[in-house]
């Protein structure tokens, strides 16, 4: 085992191993690092040929305009609204999915009713559906009931896309809570609701955290539904606003880069801090997603 583990790149030896690891790290980090560097450069430096890879002075204008507000740049003022919208959507989706998802997961883990497997399979199969097939009628319905360009429309749509995964994840976590604890509590006279809130949920805290982080990241990163369902600033997410940079002529590269970095911060920070949960969630979600 040791031999195998230590010497995986068996032809290369230790130096080769470290060289490969550094290469992997560089490939992962370099593109994003360049976005970060671009975001704090001045346009003059970025557009000079030959390019200066490190800016001669640091430019934090865009960041301060996004976060502290600005009268001069309408782009950055819009981005602040987009960030707010994205946050409201992602947070609402997370809260709803955790509540509805843990109830549903409890049903599939602990209760029995006729047709259970059919309902469960139907819920899981929705994960394989391409968004585009759903968004066309959704668009028509939302237009008819006047919900286009509203945050609730995006919250409901994203919640539906995320919820099946959360139900699946939570069910997995509930399954690992030993049943004898509940049975003992039930014998002592605790109701089903009592055991759910006092035993199952507390023992599944890591599962709730993992599912919540997942829901937040997926909802925050969701682009397509927001692109189709919102065309006014009132409900545009940060992703939609950034996508508009890419089709403008004479782009402000520095503003685009800083918007990209700002939009990445919440999911990247969450993923880095809670990477253990992410891997757990990915594994559980992939194995039978």
């Amino acid at each position: 085992m040791n031999l195998f583990r230590r010497g995986f790149p068996f032809v290369l030896g230790r130096t080769g191993l470290y060289a490969l690891v550094v290469l992997v790290g560089a490939v992962v980090l370099a593109p994003f690092l360049w976005l970060v560097i671009s975001s704090i450069s001045y346009r003059v430096d970025l557009t000079s040929v030959p390019l200066k890879f490190l800016p001669s002075s640091v430019n934090l204008e865009n960041y301060s305009q996004i976060f502290l507000g600005s009268q001069t740049s309408s782009i950055n003022a819009d981005l602040a609204i987009g960030l707010f919208n994205s946050f409201v959507i992602a947070a609402s989706v997370t809260v709803f999915c955790l509540m509805a998802g843990s109830f549903a997961a409890y049903v599939f883990s602990r209760l029995k009713f006729r047709g259970q497997n059919v309902v469960f399979s139907l819920i899981l199969i929705t994960q394989y559906l391409p968004l585009i097939v759903l968004i066309i009628p959704l668009y028509i319905v939302m237009a008819r009931i006047g919900m286009l360009n509203s945050l609730p429309a995006l919250i409901v749509a994203d919640a539906a896309f995320v919820l099946p995964l959360i139900i699946w994840l939570m069910r997995g976590f509930f399954e690992s809570v030993p049943r004898d604890l509940e049975e003992m509590a039930r014998i002592d006279g605790s109701s089903r609701f009592g055991t759910f809130f006092r035993i199952i949920l507390p023992l599944s805290t890591p599962g709730l955290a993992a599912s919540g982080i997942f829901a937040f990241i997926i909802a925050w990163n969701e682009f397509f539904s927001a692109l189709i369902l919102s065309s006014t600033l009132k409900s545009k997410t940060i992703s939609v606003l950034i996508s508009e940079f890419s089709s403008k002529v004479g782009i402000d590269y520095v503003a685009m880069a800083s918007a990209g970095v700002v939009a990445s911060l919440p999911p990247v920070i969450l993923a880095l801090i809670f990477q253990k949960y992410i891997v757990q969630g990915l594994t559980a979600g992939a194995v039978k997603g």
Binding site: M1, L3, F4, R6, G7, F8, F10, R14, L17, Y18, V21, V24, V28, L29, F32, W34, L35, V49, L51, G101, F103, V107, L111, F113, R114, I125, T126, Y128, L129, P130, I132, V133, L134, I136, P137, V156, A160, L163, P164, N221, F223, F224, L227, S239, V240, I242, S246, M256, G260, A263, S264, P267, V268, L270, A271, L272, I278, V279, L282, A286
Partner: protein, 297 residues
């Protein structure tokens, strides 16, 4: 009073109450639109044409099947799918094995791997578009300062190099999922399996092909299926980096559906196209579920 208790105590009723919020949202936002899309796909609904929306049978499906643009976009999706899945699986396996070895800073590098996964799709697109920018892109700068190119190239100006760039951007973003999942599977591998084999004198290549690969097989199959479905659905990158161009060179199937529906406002035809994509994705997942049942995962 007793009646109420009975009702609550019967599991079916409780299940119904607890499932209600999920079922309303999932079936309302997913299954109802599915059926509604199906109905739409048999109509000639055009947002620009008042009075449209008549039932026209299979005309939209026939129109798609005789349309060379449909087949071209499907073909490009095939190339995109095969290329991304092949690269991501090979790279994913290689890097997972690499990171399974013991070395200093292993936890740090594993942590980094999650970065591309967490990045919003739109930011990933904008980032690569900026790197490959014809006038100020960092790739042009590096290559020309190394003397590898004489003048700045318009990387996104040519259909096949644009396709290569979209594929590369997808590989960078999606390979980490393969790495992390294969790494997790490798760590769940019983150590004595390998110890027994090495005592028996098996060399490392043999251990890899005869023990490690078969052990990873279920995860590899799972990953391939998920990745094929994701690749079939790829839209965001295309929308951000190329808008399907140049010369439709990167007009993948999802983007083709989007164009027909939301740009040409041809909702009936778009719904039929979306259904064809759905059927492809569902076929993949059914085949997969069947294979997994046989494999007792």
């Amino acid at each position: 009073m007793t009646k109420k208790l009975d009702l609550l105590d019967s599991q079916g009723a409780l299940a119904f109450v607890l499932l209600l919020p999920s079922v309303i949202v999932i079936f309302g936002v997913l299954l109802f639109p599915m059926l509604s899309s199906l109905a739409l796909s048999f109509t000639d609904l055009k947002m620009t044409k008042p009075g449209s929306g008549q039932f026209i049978g299979f005309d939209n499906f026939v129109a798609a099947l005789v349309n060379p643009l449909f087949w071209a976009s499907l073909g490009r999706t095939g190339i995109f799918t095969v290329a991304t899945v092949l690269f991501e699986m090979t790279l994913g396996l290689a890097v997972a094995l690499l990171l399974n070895a013991k070395f200093k800073g292993r936890a740090f590098v594993r942590g980094l791997i999650i970065l591309p996964w967490a990045l919003p799709y739109v930011v990933n697109g904008v980032m690569w578009k900026w790197i490959f920018d014809a006038n100020y892109g960092v790739l042009n700068a590096i290559l020309s300062q190394l003397g590898l190119i004489q003048e700045y190239q318009i990387w996104l100006g040519d259909p096949s190099s644009a396709m290569a760039i979209v594929i590369a951007a997808n590989i960078w973003k999606e390979t980490p999922v393969a790495i992390l999942l294969l790494l997790a599977a490798l760590q769940a591998m019983p150590k004595d399996m390998i110890e027994a084999a090495s005592i028996d004198g098996a060399n490392r290549w043999k251990i890899f092909t005869k023990i490690v690969l078969p052990f990873l097989k279920p995860m590899i199959v799972t990953l391939i299926v998920i990745k094929v479905i994701w690749a079939l659905k790829e839209f965001d990158l295309i929308y951000i980096i190329t808008k399907g161009g140049p010369a439709s060179g990167t007009n993948l199937f999802s983007y083709y559906i989007y164009q027909n529906t939301f740009q040409y406002l041809n909702f009936g035809y778009g719904a039929a196209l979306a259904y064809i994509l759905t059927i492809l994705a569902l076929l993949m997942s059914f085949g997969y579920m069947k294979a997994m049942k046989g494999d007792q995962l």
